[in-house]
Symmetry: C2
Subunit: 413 residues, 2 copies
């Protein structure tokens, strides 16, 4: 598919992440209140205003402060809105005079959805191998169930924040390897994880197939699963990570819809072990999306510290969602599924500092001469992602967060 | 404190769980719609009607279908409502003619709260030792962190159901110890867990102390954390239980408020290892509540299979909640914290079939001659709990659920 031309000139550039082919869904506030918007070039289409003007179908579900009510309407409504938005913004649009656009530079981007529940997976083969090698040695790196199950754990929805939110270094119980007992102190090994989040737009009761799961997904966002490695190391046996992952998870402001990613569908890797039938994919269900992580020390220049691709994942979001329902677990509109860290096999394609610095034994060098094993206060992390079409890019928008210092005394009032 | 006398005669019996001293909060529907109610003897006070009649403070928060809006008002409002309800229902009440009572036998009891997020803990010393002994042997039974951290994991709020809801045996990946690979099949080791759930009635940002955490708790419910042991065994490494715990968690219909339990406050056990200061309790924070589990095979007589006490727990809900916030994790009104399985040291005081049958090696005998290692289809489980005062009981109401057969083909449509 070529670039679709819009009357919004900035949307026709080969550099924008937001051509007419994309139309990602967000929530913005330009001072006149939070409302739904769709990115087009360097502008935001005021979806609420367009709905009030009768320019869009399903207007009754487009007047709120999140996309949940619209997502609940289902795939037919999703397709109808996309078609109407495409008409409205395409070169030959006859109603362009009625369309309200807000410059993106003048808007604050807010949480695009209300997160119902948040689940984080562990679906990157290389990431799982790297982490397993660091903690248990390469011979025991991959747990026995890894090639059979898209392993996941429930996270904390209340801790999900939108890009641009500062992230405070947490306190927690830390036990040094040589110590007998833990101390309660600020985290010393604070990390990021490059992930993509799938947004569940339809509910389910009982088990769903992989094909049905794919139909339930509304779209995808960038996701940074901030991780306190020292808290995790002490707490995670036997019931999994808990406070190590509960400080914050940052999502990107723009939901790239499944429809926009359709031209970039590709297959998950060859199976090393045949999957049980209920987890087999009836078609390509991962996407070719280039990803990168940039780190900027406080007052310093930004450096790209990792480049990888969404298609590195062994399990697709549809497989994860299908597994999530096997026990009968009900899924809800607004559920968020983190993909798990996306690492390639090359050293500079690893999706976490734990892997990039090999648990601190090989600190990475930044252009200014500083090194990093884990995050320092003042560091700003930015995740970026884009699928590359023929003369256009489908971008996810920056997903950023700055680490701020731990509280001096968490219990001072 | 002695029995408080009510003009509702059935509330003055030494046998009722719902004397004037209790006043637990629920939601009921007698055919005229779901609304808030408070149990008194064998009747339910129609809270919504009393609020409309101007008999109760904070009436604007008492007209919905759950207690969340009222809980959000905070401890002063909780105390004011309790005082007003006590006046309304006490022997000398001058407005009894205006009070609407509905016979409990004619009402269906519904979810008392909308669960924001659900966390399950592992705070029973004996339970953790038993489970650890079964899976890892007695020498490695208690994980190294257990005496320092109230270990918990995030569960799935969408799977929480109210007493009386049937629970369908789940499918899942099961790997027999002697097999190389798993199969996808109905769970064969389906279990229950006797717990008490704490209901968080106030939100927090940032870490809270144990004393602050105790102030945030609105009340307690019985909780049965249905558990698929064979699914759990295969899936839980390294990120904890997931689908094994996602089929259903049943809570009792009545929230026994912290105020009603106040006379029964007692201390958690002596510490085997001194806790870090942020987890130390400033006073007694567990409760003396007698608990029991009854099992009735389909068409058979009910037998009590376990008797224990809430005070067996090593960590109180206030300690669990304080730990939950250490990383900065925001807590919300309606969060539900499962205590973890409550087992005493005696064999007949174990809170799960896994422990009662020692993983199936010592099946328990039922009065009808049947034996049980794990739950069979048609089994009805009932949890009961009551604190015993001077001539009265503060009861939790039955928390029941019946196991129904697995789907024949989970993907048939």
């Amino acid at each position: 598919m070529p670039l679709l031309k819009s009357w919004v000139e900035s949307a026709n550039s080969a550099e924008t992440g937001f051509p007419l082919n994309n139309l990602p869904c967000g929530v913005f506030d330009d001072g006149a209140g939070a409302r739904l918007g769709v990115a087009i070039g360097d502008m935001i289409l005021d979806v609420a205003a367009a709905a009030r003007a009768g320019l869009l179908p399903h207007g009754a579900a487009l007047g709120g402060r999140d996309w949940n009510a619209f997502m609940a309407l289902g795939p037919a409504a999703w397709a109808e809105l996309r078609a109407a938005l495409t008409d409205l913004l395409s070169e030959g649009s006859e109603v362009r005079a009625q369309v309200v656009l807000v410059p993106m530079a003048e808007a604050r981007l807010l949480m695009p959805i209300t997160v119902a529940e948040y689940t984080d997976f562990y679906a990157g083969r290389t990431h799982a191998f790297n982490v397993g090698s660091i903690f248990r040695g390469p011979e025991n790196a991959l747990p026995p169930n890894w090639l059979s199950i898209p392993i996941g754990y429930n996270g904390r929805a209340s801790s999900v924040v939108v890009s641009g939110t500062d992230v405070r270094r947490p306190w927690g119980q830390l036990k040094a390897p040589e110590a007998d007992l833990p101390v309660f102190a600020p985290c010393r090994r604070f990390d990021m994880e490059l992930e993509i989040g799938a947004i569940v737009g339809q509910p389910s009761e009982g088990p769903v197939s992989v094909a049905e799961a794919d139909d339930m997904i509304f779209g995808y966002v960038l996701l940074n699963d901030w991780s306190a490695r020292d808290i995790q190391a002490w707490e995670y046996q036997p019931l999994g990570p808990f406070q190590a992952k509960a400080t914050a998870t940052t999502i990107g402001p723009w939901i790239v819809t499944k429809a926009a990613l359709e031209p970039f569908r590709t297959s998950t890797p060859e199976r090393e072990r045949e999957l049980l039938p209920h987890l087999q994919e009836p078609g390509p269900m991962i996407y070719d999306v280039e990803l990168e992580v940039a780190l900027a020390p406080e007052g310093g220049a930004e450096a790209t510290i990792s480049r990888t691709n969404f298609r590195e994942l062994y399990y697709s979001a549809a497989q994860q969602l299908a597994h999530h329902t096997t026990s009968g677990c009900p899924m809800r509109v607004g559920d968020l599924l983190g993909s798990g860290t996306i690492s390639g096999t090359a050293k500079d394609s690893r999706g976490s500092l734990l892997e990039l610095s090999w648990s601190g034994s090989e600190p990475i060098e930044l252009p200014g001469g500083e090194t990093r094993s884990f995050l320092e206060d003042g560091d700003t992390l930015t995740l970026r992602g884009a699928a590359r079409g023929d003369g256009y890019r489908v971008g996810f928008g920056d997903c950023t967060g700055t680490v701020i210092a731990a509280l001096k005394d968490p219990y001072a009032r």
